[in-house]
């Protein structure tokens, strides 16, 4: 009905201008292809493989002096995810259990300290809530709890503040499905205890279809 209205409005307003030829093409295309799809109502599982990029800042202490140590970390992460639709099928709870490994590099601003190619690994439990306004796309919030194991390997008399093992975070994500089984996701998360900002790009695969 809406598209019929569009054609009507366009023909009244345009008196068939040259541009209307293409407008109509597109409107016809749209009306013939319109399909109704429903959201999945049952719980299901997914695996997510992702690349994460993180900027982090530590404070180094040597004697009475302090210095900033800025680091960039890259990681590959694997998550096993339970997707649980709520009563309102537009909302989906998800619970991800993940582990990842990667490398980091960074340098101090004043102290003569720099590292490159250091390995680290992490575990995370990430609960989240997605809103799906159509059958292909979602936006959501996530609140991960992460554990990270890393060693900067600096001089022995330097201590590192804020090199916490544990951090909670808060982030947002966007999921775009390109088939029933596969989708891409982008997420942005800030980890409070680590003072780190993580960008994550993942491929998601639905199991059991």
């Amino acid at each position: 009905m809406k598209f019929n209205q569009m054609i009507l409005i366009a023909s009244i307003l345009l008196n068939f201008s040259p541009t209307s030829i293409f407008a109509e093409d597109q409107v016809q295309k749209k009306s013939t292809k319109a399909k109704k799809k429903s959201f999945a109502q049952k719980s299901y599982r997914e695996v997510h493989l992702s690349y994460g990029f993180m900027s982090d800042k530590f404070t180094l202490v040597q004697g009475g002096l302090t210095d900033d140590f800025r680091a960039q970390l890259q990681s590959i992460n694997l998550n096993y995810v339970f997707q649980v639709p709520s009563r309102n099928p537009k909302y989906v709870f998800n619970y991800a259990f993940g582990l990842g490994f990667g490398n980091l590099k960074g340098s101090a601003q004043s102290f003569p300290e720099e590292v490159k190619g250091k390995s680290f690994f992490n575990f995370a439990f990430t609960p989240g809530l997605d809103f799906r306004n159509d059958y292909r796309n979602r936006i959501g919030v996530i609140a991960p709890i992460g554990f990270r194991f890393l060693s900067l390997g600096l001089a022995e008399d330097i201590t590192v503040r804020e090199n916490e093992l544990f951090s909670i975070g808060l982030g947002a994500r966007y999921v775009l499905a390109h088939s029933r089984k596969n989708s891409f996701a982008f997420s942005f998360t800030h980890y409070f205890n680590w003072r780190a900002t993580v960008w994550d790009f993942s491929w998601q695969h639905r199991l059991g279809l």
Binding site: Q5, T19, F53, S55, G106, N133, D134, Y135, F186
Partner: protein, 383 residues
């Protein structure tokens, strides 16, 4: 309050930037909505009606049907102007806060644009059209040189459009150069670093051939004739897009130009795909080569990507990912920029854009400079 907004809305301008992400609404060709088939510039009547009935929200619409909203979408609302004239007005205010919350915090408030535009037609078929704009541009924040004067009243476009055949349009005059995905973010690396920003229009001729399955635009230009002759970038550019399947277009784009000081070559590939209802994924990547008259040529790259999702009618969220490096052979950093935000059209004629951008520099060595944040807010009013 909503009535007040309606009144304000009716008094304000309607010239819109290109929104290539609206391929997600299954409108893949810019000509559907714009007088300029390559996007940007004033909307045609169909574009206005579509904006009111499908893209924008219903704030202040009351019980009006979509059909009524479409009828009210003209310059003077429901009152229909003669077929030969289509005026428009536009204003855009930008607010930027860099490094919020830090000692380096800076804020900026700029009236980016206040512009009037006019489209005149010869004959009801609109085979012949004259499109022009005249408006204010802000003075640059840099100090002016001795004797330098900045004209804050300029025309960003004025061209004659001829529909030569059913599928071929010819544009002659001053316009944006044809290159890449013409999206609204003119500070993106894909626009600013390629020399295609807000005030980089050129005088020239564009031939635009449109088939349902593919489009080709070729642009020969003499540079901006209001500039000094030695600064004018003369050359050509082109854009080809092919519809692989419904709502998925891939393409290639090329630009080659030179002035007395430097030759520029840009080449890119791109993809625009619509998903679901009103959602889209844009991707463009390319190389940027600058060859100074004296000195070695420098080659860099850029990437622009955007995922755009309709949340509800009139409201969209988006994430962007960008990358840029000026010189591939140097030790300079790769610039990475990630952003997310809200694009809202609560009602026709009003647009809000709020965005947070995080820029990170990645060096090959262990140096890690501090990353930066920018918060951007924009209000865009149109009649």
């Amino acid at each position: 309050m909503s009535r007040l907004l309606v009144v304000i809305g009716l008094l304000l301008p309607l010239k819109l930037w290109a929104y290539p992400q609206f391929i997600g609404y299954k409108y893949s060709s810019c000509l559907t909505c714009h007088f300029n088939g390559n996007g940007n510039g004033p909307l045609n009547d169909y574009g206005r009606a579509l904006w009111a009935t499908e893209i924008a929200g219903r704030l202040g619409a009351g019980k009006a049907t979509d059909e009524e909203l479409g009828e009210r979408s003209g310059f003077l609302g429901k009152y229909q102007l003669p077929y030969w004239i289509r005026p428009g007005l536009k204003a855009r205010q930008l607010w930027v806060e860099t490094n919020p919350g830090s000692s380096g915090e800076q804020s900026l408030d700029i009236l980016m644009q206040a512009e009037a535009n006019l489209a005149l037609f010869i004959g009801k078929s609109q085979k012949y059209a004259l499109v022009a704009s005249l408006g204010y541009v802000p003075e640059p924040s840099r100090p002016l040189g001795p004797g330098e004067e900045i004209d804050t009243l300029i025309s960003r476009e004025h061209y004659f459009r001829l529909q030569a055949t059913e599928k071929l349009w010819i544009y002659t005059g001053m316009m944006d150069k044809v290159y890449g995905i013409r999206h609204a973010n003119h500070t993106a690396y894909s626009r600013a670093r390629t020399g295609l920003a807000q005030n980089d229009q050129a005088h020239g001729v564009v031939a635009h051939y449109i088939n349902p399955k593919w489009e080709l635009s070729v642009n020969a230009f003499l540079g901006n004739l209001y500039q000094q002759s030695e600064l004018r970038q003369e050359g050509f550019s082109s854009l080809f897009e092919y519809e692989l399947k419904e709502n998925w277009r891939v393409g290639a784009t090329l630009l080659n130009s030179k002035n007395d000081f430097v030759s520029n070559t840009r080449f890119g590939v791109l993809s625009r795909a619509g998903y679901g209802s009103g959602s889209a994924l844009l991707f463009e990547t390319g190389i940027i080569q600058d060859k100074p008259e004296a000195g070695d040529s420098v080659m860099g790259y850029y990437v622009y990507s955007e995922a755009h999702q309709r949340v509800k009618r009139g409201y969209h969220v988006f994430v962007t990912g960008q990358a840029y490096k000026q010189d591939l052979s140097s030790d300079a950093a790769d610039n990475l920029k990630f952003g997310f935000g809200l694009l809202a059209f609560p009602m026709q004629r009003i647009e809000f854009r709020i965005e947070a951008e995080n820029t990170q520099l990645v060096f090959a060595g262990a140096d890690v400079p501090r990353y930066s944040w920018a918060l951007l807010g924009q209000i865009h009013l149109s009649l």
